[in-house]
Amino acid sequence: MRWITVGTVFCLACVFSFGQERKDAPVQEKEDLLVELFKMAAEQEFIREKTSFINLINGLNLSKEQMSEILKVNEEFRAEVERRYDELKEKFKQAKECFERWIEIIKKGELPEKEMKETQMADSEMVKIGHWVQSLQQKYGEHLDKVFTDAQRAVIDDFNPCIVPPQNLRDPIRVGQASGANPELINGLRFIRSLNGKPFQQRIVIESAVQRAVKFETELAHLTEEEQKVEAERIRKLIEKACDMSDVDFELNKDKLAEEFISGSAYEKLKKLQKEMEKIGSEIQKIGKERRLRNADRVVKYFLNPVIVEPILKERLGSFEEKKSSGAEKAGQNR
C-alpha cells in the first residue's frame, strides 16, 4: 500500500516544515510560477484545515479536561517524532540524493544493477518511515479515541470538512421548535401544491423547478445528458407525487419527501459514495482490530495534527483560565 506510505511521509514532512525553522533550505533565484501557485494552494489548504478543525471542535462542546488530553496526546506525538528529527532528516537527504541520481540514470534508459539496488534500499527506508508514522498514528489514535464520548464520536463520524459550519452544527433543530429540517424545500412543495386547481400554471412552475434543479446539479456533478434526463424525471415524479397527496398525507410525509428529494440527487449520491469509500478504506486498514478503532481513523485525521491542534487548544484552554479568574458574573455575556 504505497499510497498510504507516501501520504504519511508527506504528513511527516509537513510536521517538520511547519514545526521547524528550515534555514538550510535552498532558495531559488526565480521561482517557477506554477510551483509558486502550488505552494499558495497548499497554504490555502492548511488554512482550510485549520478553519474546519475549529468548526468541528465548536460543535463538540469539549470539556476543559478533554481539550487538555487532546493537547497532551498531540504534544507526545510531536515529541516522539521530533526525537528522531536528525536521523530522519539525514535519511530524507540521502534518499533525495539517491532518487535524483536515479532520475539521471533512467533518463538515459539505463538500469544498472548496483544503482537499482541502492535506490530500492532508499525507497524501502522511506516505506519504513511511513510504517513507523502509521504505527504512531495507530498508537496515539487509540489514546485520542478514548477522549471522546459516544455522542461526540457520532458527530465526528458525520462531520464533513467545512469553512462555514453546516446547519446541523450551526443551528440544530431545537426541542419544541415547530420547523424541522429542510423548511425551504417543504415550503416550495407546499407552494406547488397550492396550484393544484390550476394545472397549466402548476406545470410551468414544476418544469421551471425541474430545470433549475438539473442545471444546478449538472454544474456541480457534471451530469451527462442522459443523466440529466433521468434526474429531471426523478424530480418531476417526486413533485407530482407531492401534488397528488391529500393534505394530511403531505403533512405526514413531507420530511420523507424532502429527504428523498435531496438524498436521491446526483450530488448527494456522490457524497455518500465518497463516505462509503472512506469507510471501506478504514475497514481495510483496521481489519483484525477491535471494532471501536474504526472511528480512530477520523479522530486521527482531525485530532492528531500538532501543527493545527496545539495552538488552537492552547488558546482555548488559556481563555478558560481567564474566564475563571475574571469571575462568574461575566459568564452571562459570553457567547
Binding site: A151, R174, V175, L220, V248, Q274, K323
Partner: protein, 384 residues
C-alpha cells in the same frame, strides 16, 4: 480532504439553488399573485367553531372565558387575548377546532420527553394561538396568530387523526409548539376517541390554566411536558405576560393526578439565569414534584423579540445542571446543546449511562424493562 470538500456547497445551498427557480417562496408567489394566478384563500370560511364549556354569560351579552387565569371578559365579536376564542352572539366559541396549522411526525425527544417511550415518534398537532406572549417564543409565527388567520395544514377531526396515526404506525398523539391550553376542547375530543384504542396522548404546555379546565385536560392526557419559564413573578410578568403561581399550582396538580411529567426551564441570559433563582426553583421542585421528576435546562437561542441576547453560555447551563443535581433531582438534562454528557440518562444508583443521545437522536438504550442493566435500579418513566 475529499473529492467534494472543495465544492463550496452544502445541503441548504443545494435546496436554495433549486428554490431560486420555479419554487421560490418569496418572489414567484408574488409575481403569480399579480398575474391573478393565486388568490388569497379564505381560511376563515374553512374554520369550524365550537362552544367553550369553561365560560359563563355576563350582562349586556358579554361573556367570560374561564379557561386560563386571564379570565377574559369579551363583548360581542371580541377575541380573547389567546387569539382563539370569540364572543359570538353572547356565547363563547373557540376557533381552535379541527384546524391545525402544524401536522408533523417528530421524535418524542422533541417534546422534550426523555422518559417516555424513547426513540418513538409522535403525530404532533398544533393550532395557532397562545395565552402567553413570551418574548423569545420560537414558534411565534403560529402562536401569536389567530387560528383562522393561519393556513390550515389539513382538517383534523377524530377520524382523520386516527387514520393518520394508523397510516404512520404511530403510538403517540402529541400537542406541542403552540399552547394546548387554548385548544383544550379539540384535544379532549380527539383524546376521548383515540385513547380507548390504545394510543397515548401527550402535551407540551406552559400550564397557564385554571383549576377546573386543568382537571379536564389532565383527564385527557397521559404525559405532560411543562415549560416552567422562570421562578419569579417578575420574570413571568415581563417575559410571558402571565403569572407564576397558577403554573406552580398546576404542576402540583399534574403530579397529584399521577400523570407522567417532565419539566423544561429555558435559561435566558440575564433574564432568568440568576443562580439564587435557579436554586430556589430546584428546591421547590424536589419538595413539590419529587426528586424523580425529570428536569430539562434548555439553551436559549436569540429569537423573536429577544434577538439582542446571546445564546445561553455552556457554563450557565452546566452550573444550573449541577445545582439541580446538588438539590437531589435525579434526572437533570441539558437540551438544545449537543453533544453533551447531560443529554444522556444515567442510573441514579450506579451512574451507568442508560440512554445515550446526541441531540434528538438515541444512540443507545440499555434499559432492561425500565431497569438499569447494571444494578437493576428501577428508572421512573413509561418505557413500553
Amino acid at each position: 480532504m475529499g473529492l467534494f470538500d472543495d465544492v463550496p456547497l452544502n445541503r441548504r445551498e443545494f435546496i436554495k439553488a433549486i428554490l431560486k427557480g420555479g419554487v421560490a417562496v418569496s418572489s414567484l408567489p408574488l409575481a403569480l399573485k399579480l398575474l391573478g394566478i393565486l388568490e388569497e384563500p379564505a381560511y376563515a370560511e374553512l374554520v369550524q367553531k365550537m362552544l367553550v364549556p369553561h365560560s359563563r354569560p355576563l350582562d349586556n351579552n358579554r361573556v367570560q372565558c374561564l379557561v386560563c387565569p386571564f379570565n377574559c371578559i369579551l363583548k360581542i365579536k371580541e377575541r380573547s387575548q389567546c387569539f382563539t376564542k370569540q364572543n359570538d352572539d353572547g356565547k363563547l366559541f373557540t376557533y381552535a377546532y379541527h384546524n391545525p396549522c402544524i401536522i408533523s411526525v417528530d421524535p418524542v425527544e422533541k417534546m422534550p420527553l426523555h422518559h417516555y417511550l424513547p426513540g418513538s415518534q409522535t403525530l404532533t398537532l398544533a393550532i395557532g394561538g397562545c395565552n402567553l406572549h413570551c418574548l423569545y417564543c420560537q414558534n411565534w409565527q403560529q402562536s401569536q396568530k389567530k387560528p383562522d388567520e393561519l393556513k390550515m395544514a389539513a382538517k383534523m377531526d377524530k377520524d382523520e387523526t386516527l387514520s393518520a396515526l394508523k397510516k404512520k404506525e404511530l403510538k403517540i398523539l402529541a400537542f406541542n409548539y403552540t399552547e394546548p391550553v387554548v385548544m383544550l376542547e379539540w384535544i379532549i375530543e380527539l383524546s376521548k376517541f383515540v385513547r380507548p384504542k390504545g394510543y397515548k396522548v401527550v402535551i407540551g404546555t406552559a400550564l397557564y390554566i385554571n383549576a377546573e379546565p386543568l382537571k379536564a385536560l389532565l383527564d385527557a392526557v397521559d404525559g405532560v411536558v411543562v415549560g416552567l419559564k422562570g421562578f419569579t413573578e417578575e420574570f413571568y410578568k415581563k417575559v410571558t405576560g402571565g403569572t407564576l403561581k397558577p403554573v406552580l399550582d398546576g404542576l402540583v396538580k399534574v403530579k397529584e393526578e399521577k400523570k407522567h411529567l417532565e419539566v423544561v426551564n429555558l435559561v435566558v441570559p440575564t433574564y432568568n439565569d440568576k443562580e439564587e433563582d435557579i436554586k430556589r426553583m430546584c428546591e421547590w421542585f424536589v419538595k413539590n414534584l419529587g426528586a424523580e421528576t425529570p428536569l430539562h435546562f434548555s439553551r436559549f437561542e436569540p429569537m423573536y423579540k429577544l434577538q439582542n441576547l446571546p445564546r445561553t453560555p455552556l457554563k450557565t447551563l452546566e452550573t444550573a445542571h449541577k445545582m439541580a443535581k446538588d438539590c437531589g433531582i435525579k434526572f437533570v438534562y441539558i437540551d438544545n446543546l449537543a453533544p453533551h454528557p447531560a443529554n444522556d440518562t444515567y442510573c441514579p444508583k450506579c451512574n451507568k449511562p442508560l440512554i445515550k443521545r446526541v441531540g434528538l437522536r438515541i444512540l443507545e438504550n440499555s434499559l432492561k424493562e425500565g431497569k438499569c442493566s447494571q444494578c437493576g435500579e428501577s428508572i421512573p418513566g413509561v418505557w413500553r
